[in-house]
Symmetry: C2
Subunit: 508 residues, 2 copies
């Protein structure tokens, strides 16, 4: 079939945009990983320029015209091309629907609020923060209202959710999270009780030492690379580096992940590596025939996070795989030779009630996310105002984890960077990802009943094949719930995660 | 003074081009230093796209119009802005004067010739190479004729020379090189004779060992960094990495150099580091107030190479600085503790007649360059044809170094990559750089008679200050010969280099 001219023009344009994105991605990676400090000013200018060029290309009058014409002639396109066209339309709408004045105001208010937050958080200065933050929220509500009109979402918040969790509505998330909020608190208490009873055998300093330098970074780097190879990472198509915060990024054929090492303990860096390897594996597994086009991209952040958490929590921290990892540690770390498997297992599965989300374990993490979700949903839909946040936060921490954050903004509602620049609708993806990961893992282990034997010898090839078949190779050709239903027989549902957590923390 | 609108538009445009160049530079660096092998296809496409965008911006009708209008209104510009405008006009002409068909034909012929060369050189296949190369030469002559018409140069070759050695004409280079060709052969013979007489004291394996692994790369890296710091390299505004061939590149505030290590010997990597540190120091010292504009760029390759060679040959390999370097080596390399200063000195100053330019020492190097210059000048000006090259090469190697390359194309006229893609007019910059470096160094040491005492303790701050004042801070505001005359009292002249080589190789 000969593609018609408008569709071909759109392909050319989106490929050109993808080439700009390639440059922006590498410039950002370089800035986080390689760039010396004096390079920051010229780098910021260059990235800003390419971003403006990208915006100019994507919002040009030509694009709208080609999209409109192509939409009228879809009978000349095959099914894949029609989905590709829809994904292009969505990419265009996402960017073009906002007035330039609003975007500019948001960038300025976000930069001001984030910049202030860096000192205000440390100073526990909620009032100072609130002043800037109210403007951010006001502008985000404005954005949400415009987007709601364009996409016809049921609520303004759903229109922001659509940017990060497209396909997963707030009514679905409400359902999933209310089950977690109802069932996790008692599960957490029971797990902590069981842990206290068991906590006599292994001593802490086997995995995290009080003596700095016990786990040289050069050894940890080798260990991380061995783990990545076990998890199927292809070093001819990617790299591992060091940055202040672990992240994953990349371009076609070139996935780059980072971790950070602490020479007093190796587990955090190692699990961060496993997590980012999951993200990178998804990106590397996207359909190459649609590479560089919107329909070839990852589905949404709830699916993306499910891949990273599946690699980290379902595979790496599973009992059988930890046996393999234990052997890698013994062969790689000088100080790891005498470490017992039981000690590794207990450290990888510590549970505790804590204030800080990024330090939380898999059992308490959903409580942290659900409370942020409830607050941001109500904030954007106008049910509460920014002034209401501290009380709402404290109430949720009290009921979920029994901790008070009263007057403690530093460790409470000011702990995260996300909201400072108006990133609303992102938080739920962390826990939707955890739920999806448990559900996907349950489905795949039902089909591979020998999974424990395979994991114990470091074989996860069948996991990668299954994920490739059911998730990776579909890119954006299917919706997130369509992917979940076809892979697991049902849409995202909290029960697999509850079952996984119960089995891991109470039954073993 | 209020800048007029056309000039301001040009500033905006050239800054935008500079931001694209920033991205292209980092993408290229990343490709050579960091990128995994599977990234090459997407990277090539991205770089090609940005290069096309750059070309579209620079050759747009707007630019020509603004340039023409601004040129009519120069009384509203100060002297610096007027020079800036001239540099913009030159940048525009350089790129816009060639028809797109010719550029495309050159890219294709160059790619074909270079690709073939990679196997033909090894196979000594001159005939196979000649077939592709004749097309490259034909198109380069076409280019030279067009450029000659635009810039009004005295010969077609001068128009290509203008791209790399702007300001240094072929008549100047003829003068300089004919002195070198007349005086170097006897100097080389005398130096080799003296060296043979002295060559009883130090044994080769003190600097280059036959045992692999004697100089661990981790130690050599520390040594390179120490040398760079001694030479004034600012690691908050740059990096040192490893690549297949040493090079220097960078963007504003961020100079990046590379070297390559051999664990059987440390001297080549160390001197490559010194060389690239010179290039990087020039780039870092360009006038910040003109950064991102053509007038703020480095003058030409004859000046650029003079900076790298000044750092490598005049500073690092000087007797007093080698004393400092000897101390660094003793404190940094495990196998360097027992090495004598005399051994280091003799290795850093080995002279030999050899076929290969890139392996040649400073005494024989000009012979290699002068013969290439004579051939490419005559080739582009139509005095000889590609078929004449092997005989011309053999004759020049016979008279300059007493070596025959008859029927030996591999080590003769097919050894370099430069000509394969039509890079003519670049070779002379290597030796013009050497001549300039000796002349600049002579002038600066006359003004700093205590230079030897300072070098011996690793102090070269006064060298950097002098170069900054006389070369770096001028960017393109002055011509190359204007820079040389103001810094040294005369234009580029072979005698300083002859004096330097005589003093170093015959008088000590």
């Amino acid at each position: 079939m000969i593609r018609h001219a408008q569709y071909q023009s759109l392909i050319d344009l989106f490929k050109r945009i993808n080439h700009l994105d390639h440059a922006i991605t590498i410039l950002n990676w370089d800035q986080m990983v390689m760039m010396p400090e004096n390079g920051v000013s010229a780098r910021s200018e260059a990235i800003a320029e390419l971003t403006v060029m990208r915006h100019e290309l994507l919002t040009s009058q030509d694009v709208k015209q080609h999209l409109d014409e192509a939409s009228r002639l879809t009978d000349s396109l095959n099914a894949g091309e029609q989905r590709s066209l829809i994904a292009m339309r969505i990419a265009y709408n996402d960017v073009s629907c906002l007035p330039a004045d609003l975007v500019k105001a948001q960038v300025m208010a976000g930069a001001l609020c984030e910049h202030g937050w860096r000192t205000q958080r440390k100073a526990n200065d909620w009032k100072g923060f609130l002043k800037n933050f109210k403007e951010v929220v006001k502008l985000s509500i404005e954005e949400a209202n415009i987007r709601q009109e364009v996409i016809g979402s049921s609520t303004p918040y759903d229109a922001l959710l659509d940017l990060h969790c497209r396909g997963d509505s707030s009514s679905l998330i409400d359902d999933v999270f209310s089950q977690l909020k109802a069932q996790l608190p008692s599960l957490i208490d029971a797990a902590i009780e069981k842990q206290a009873a068991n906590n006599t055998k292994s001593s802490n300093n086997e995995v995290h030492s009080s003596s700095v330098g016990q786990y040289p970074i050069s050894e940890q780097k080798v260990l991380s690379e061995k783990l990545m190879k076990s998890l199927g990472f292809d070093f001819s198509a990617g790299r591992l580096d060091i940055s202040a915060h672990p992240f994953s990024t990349g371009v076609i054929g070139d996935q780059r992940i980072t971790t950070r090492y602490d020479d007093a303990g190796f587990l955090d860096a190692l699990l961060a590596t496993a997590h980012e390897t999951g993200h990178a594996s998804y990106e590397a597994g996207l359909p190459i025939e649609w590479a560089g086009l919107p329909v070839g991209e990852a589905r949404n952040m709830c699916i993306h996070e499910s891949q990273s958490l599946l690699f980290e929590k379902m595979v790496t921290v599973s009992g059988p795989f930890l046996k393999h990892l234990h052997s890698l540690i013994q062969h790689t770390l000088s100080a790891g030779k005498s470490m017992s498997y039981e000690s590794l297992l207990s450290h990888a599965r510590q549970v505790s009630k804590s204030y800080i989300r990024v330090e939380a374990d898999e059992l308490t993490y959903p409580i942290h996310v659900a409370l942020r979700y409830d607050i941001e949903r109500d904030l954007i839909n106008g049910a509460i105002t920014p002034e209401d946040i501290p009380d709402a936060w404290d109430a949720a921490m009290q009921s979920g984890l029994g901790l008070s954050t009263k007057d403690n903004y530093t460790d409470g509602c000011m702990q995260d960077i996300h909201w400072t620049d108006g990133t609303f609708g992102y938080f739920p993806s962390y826990t939707m990802g955890a739920v999806n990961s448990a559900q996907l893992f349950q489905a795949l282990t039902v089909q591979h009943s020998d999974w424990e034997d395979r994991f114990a010898v470091g074989d996860i090839g069948f996991v990668r094949d299954w994920l490739s078949t059911h998730i990776w190779q579909h890119g954006c050709h299917k919706g997130s719930q369509e992917l979940m239903i076809e892979a697991t027989g049902k849409g995202t549902d909290a029960q697999s995660l509850i079952q996984h957590l119960t089995a891991r923390y109470l039954e073993h």
